[in-house]
């Protein structure tokens, strides 16, 4: 028994050391956000601010509308992740529970969207959005983030692990496809839905190029754009940027803290394993 306790403690120590190593860049950025410019890059290599200051945060809040930008990013990320969860689960359902003509081709086309360099589509998509009159709107910013083949692919991988009997049993019970999808498949796939939600939220929250391009009004800008405003090309002032990055990280950390436990308790459980 004692031996097991020692291993347990040992394992935790190892894990915590690894965790600190992984966290190091983030912790350092957080620390640097409290440093004065002259303390950041020095021969003394300070890990902690020798003269802690809030100046960088004050600058972030006074020179940019960062609260407003966060609000915009939050709305956009929320809309996109909800839509993605719905559309991706529908598409993945079709790919994993039906046999139909052209299935392989349609699935290949879905995957192909992952391989098309997104940056080259930006200008053409700008044309589309501008013709639809969606410049400077949430709809315009969200438009290209509403679907992600990654999510479909992940859900397909998850659905394929379901035992065949799950659907057969439900059919014997007289369940329609729609009922099966909503009453059985989605509830038992909750971990994967949360994963897709979380993943989408974070990735949309972190988008930069597109939201910048389709907004020409300050009040429609997003938080990542705000962070670049805090940069300074001439002074390479890292403090304000690190402050901005730390502020922008708060919602994503909250989302992680909330949802991570749910998904790591078993995403691909398959619920009814035989």
């Amino acid at each position: 028994m004692n031996e097991r306790r020692t291993t347990n403690i040992m394992m935790q120590v190892i894990c915590v050391i690894c965790a600190l190593m992984v966290l190091f860049p983030i912790l350092y950025a957080f620390s640097a956000s409290f440093m004065r410019p002259e303390d950041i890059l020095t021969t003394s290599h300070y890990l902690l601010p020798p003269h802690p200051t809030l100046a960088n945060y004050i600058q972030a809040f006074t020179t940019t509308k960062i609260a407003r930008y966060m609000g915009n990013s939050f709305i956009i990320a929320l809309i996109c992740s909800c839509v993605r969860v719905i559309l991706a689960s529908m598409a993945a359902f079709s790919f994993s529970f039906y046999e139909f003509r052209g299935k392989r081709i349609l699935f290949a086309l879905t995957l192909a969207t992952i391989m098309i360099p997104p940056d080259v589509l930006v200008v053409q998509n700008y044309v589309t959005i501008s013709k639809m009159g969606l410049m400077n709107t949430y709809a315009g910013i969200c438009s290209i983030f509403l679907i992600s083949a990654n999510n479909i692919f992940l859900m397909r991988q998850n659905f394929l692990t379901f035992s065949r009997s799950l659907q057969e049993a439900s059919r014997l019970d007289g369940c329609s496809d729609l009922q099966f999808f909503f009453r059985i498949l989605l509830p038992v796939s909750r971990p994967v839905l949360i994963t897709v939600f979380m993943n989408s939220f974070v990735s949309v929250w972190n988008q930069y190029v597109w939201p910048m391009l389709v907004t020409t009004k300050d009040e429609m800008r997003t938080v990542q754009v705000g962070i670049t405003m805090l940069k300074d090309r001439e002074s390479s002032a890292f403090g304000p940027v690190m402050a901005g990055a730390s502020i922008a990280l708060v919602p994503t950390i909250l989302i992680f803290a909330l949802f991570l436990r749910r998904i790591v308790s078993g995403m691909m459980t398959g619920a009814v394993k035989e």
Partner: protein
């Protein structure tokens, strides 16, 4: 379940935020868009900050590509305009930040001729003038600045900054946020090594470097990475009246299609070889500001825009100064070309807007507005009368070094200008890589020369294949 409560809370928060944001958005739209109510039947999905004859206020959109302190000063300049001239003449300007180099959104709007989402005035780095040079919506500043009623005339501006934004003698835009390349030197270390003044020529500098490394705490005597900006400055400041980097006066009298400064390049490389041979030269750009401020490098060559930053970083730890970059040959004119960015006007289809845009541009290049740069930035006021402005005088008295680039540019002849170089990104990479190899010892002087001239010729061929000259 705790989890559910948390999720509900999060959702409520999200909805609250959404409401707040939507409310804010509508309010902002209403204030900037009072005219749409008077024009029923137009597509309600498009939100044009259009001219509004009813209220008489013209809404202008001004895009700028400057972050940090520079961006903050620009916002102050816009506010000042809106409160003074803008209020008088019924013009309101909204600033829109665009990421460096600020051309992304413009090219996208150009592709579709999307006038609704174009700026009336754009702040753009001179390297990208090629992009709008032949565009039909570009409004050349020439006709406005030479008009009889203009508040600012060419004579009010530093001559070589006028040349820098002229093509064939006509101004396409106006200089705006201009800086000059300078030599920054650590006076304490110079004195310690037995020198009283910064070097006037590259040869002199090369001879000083070993002493700086040996007799002071510095690791290197000099730090500079030679990108196109630094390299071209050393080329164009040669000769009694400057040297054009490329043909057609470096693109200021027609399209630049090839290099025309082969001899000057040779001369520069010959001198620079001495700097490399000194063994006290750092050729990479890591954290130049901080390294200089920590006394790791005795001298470095950077834009004047960094004077305030260096001042903040150095504090009282040592005496330092700025001077003109060393000359290639003692008989050269020296100085620096005006680098940085200008303002360009775009015709969005309404003549009244262009008139209003010119009012705004004039305001931005007026002596008082230009003097505002000195309040935290190292940009050079391009209006010669800026010296008389109170802002200028108070800034210079607290930071006398800020007058150095101003004086340098005023005394450098109009022919010392940067090139309107096709595909400057590739050219920049070619020069940077070649000079790094030269300094690192992996290329000889001859190989470096060949790498630069061949590389630039290739880049131009590439550019003109895609953009043939009619």
């Amino acid at each position: 379940m705790k989890m559910k409560k948390m999720a509900a809370l999060l959702l409520a928060l999200a909805m609250l935020l959404a409401l707040a944001a939507c409310g804010g958005n509508n309010a902002a739209q209403d204030s900037s868009d009072p005219g749409t109510s008077g024009t029923p039947g137009t597509d309600s999905g498009t939100q044009t900050p259009a001219q509004t004859p009813e209220s008489g206020t013209i809404e202008l959109s001004y895009w700028y590509a400057m972050d940090g302190v520079g961006g903050q000063i620009i916002e102050k300049q816009i506010d000042a305009f809106n409160q003074t001239t803008g209020a008088e003449k019924g013009i309101h300007v909204t600033g829109v930040y665009q990421d460096w180099p600020g051309t992304n959104a413009l090219t996208a709007a150009m592709t579709t001729d999307d006038t609704e989402n174009m700026p009336d005035v754009i702040h753009m780095f001179s390297e990208y003038v090629n992009l709008i040079q032949d565009w039909e919506r570009t409004v050349w500043a020439e006709d406005y600045i030479t008009a009889s009623g203009a508040a600012v005339s060419k004579d009010d501006l530093i001559p070589n900054t006028v040349e820098a934004y002229s093509i064939g003698g006509k101004m396409i835009g106006v200089p705006y946020a201009i800086s000059a390349l300078l030599l920054y030197y650590n006076q304490d270390q110079l004195t310690q090594a037995g020198f009283d003044a910064p070097p006037a020529t590259i040869d002199e500098m090369a001879r000083m470097l070993p002493a700086l490394k040996e007799k002071t705490g510095a690791e290197y005597g000099l730090n500079v990475r030679l990108d196109q900006f630094e390299f071209e400055n050393f080329i164009v400041t040669q000769g009694a009246a400057g040297t054009y980097f490329g043909n057609n006066q470096s693109g200021h009298a027609g399209q630049m299609t090839e290099l025309s400064s082969q001899e000057a390049i040779q001369a520069f490389l010959t001198e620079w070889e001495k700097v490399i041979a000194s063994g006290a030269y750092k050729e990479t750009k890591d954290s130049m500001n901080e390294e200089f401020a920590q006394g790791l490098n005795s001298m470095c060559i950077m834009s004047s825009a960094r004077i305030p930053t260096i001042n903040d970083l150095v504090g009282d730890s040592f005496q330092w100064g700025v001077a003109a970059i060393p000359k290639v040959s003692a008989s050269d004119v020296g100085g620096a070309y005006p680098s940085g960015s200008g303002l360009f006007m775009i015709d969005r289809g309404e003549p009244a807007r262009v008139e209003a845009a010119w009012e705004f541009v004039q305001y931005l290049i007026s002596a008082d507005t230009q003097a505002m740069w000195l309040d935290g930035c190292g940009y050079v006021p391009i209006n010669v009368h800026a010296e008389e402005a109170e802002t200028y005088q108070s800034a210079i008295s607290t930071e006398p070094r800020l007058s150095v680039p101003f004086d340098i540019l005023k005394n450098t002849p109009g022919s010392v200008v940067s090139s309107f170089c096709p595909d400057n990104q590739t050219v920049n990479t070619v020069i940077q890589d070649s000079m790094l190899n030269f300094a690192g010892g992996s290329a000889s002087k001859e190989e470096t020369y060949a790498a630069i001239t061949d590389g630039i010729a290739d880049a131009f061929a590439d550019y003109f294949r895609a953009n043939p000259i009619d």
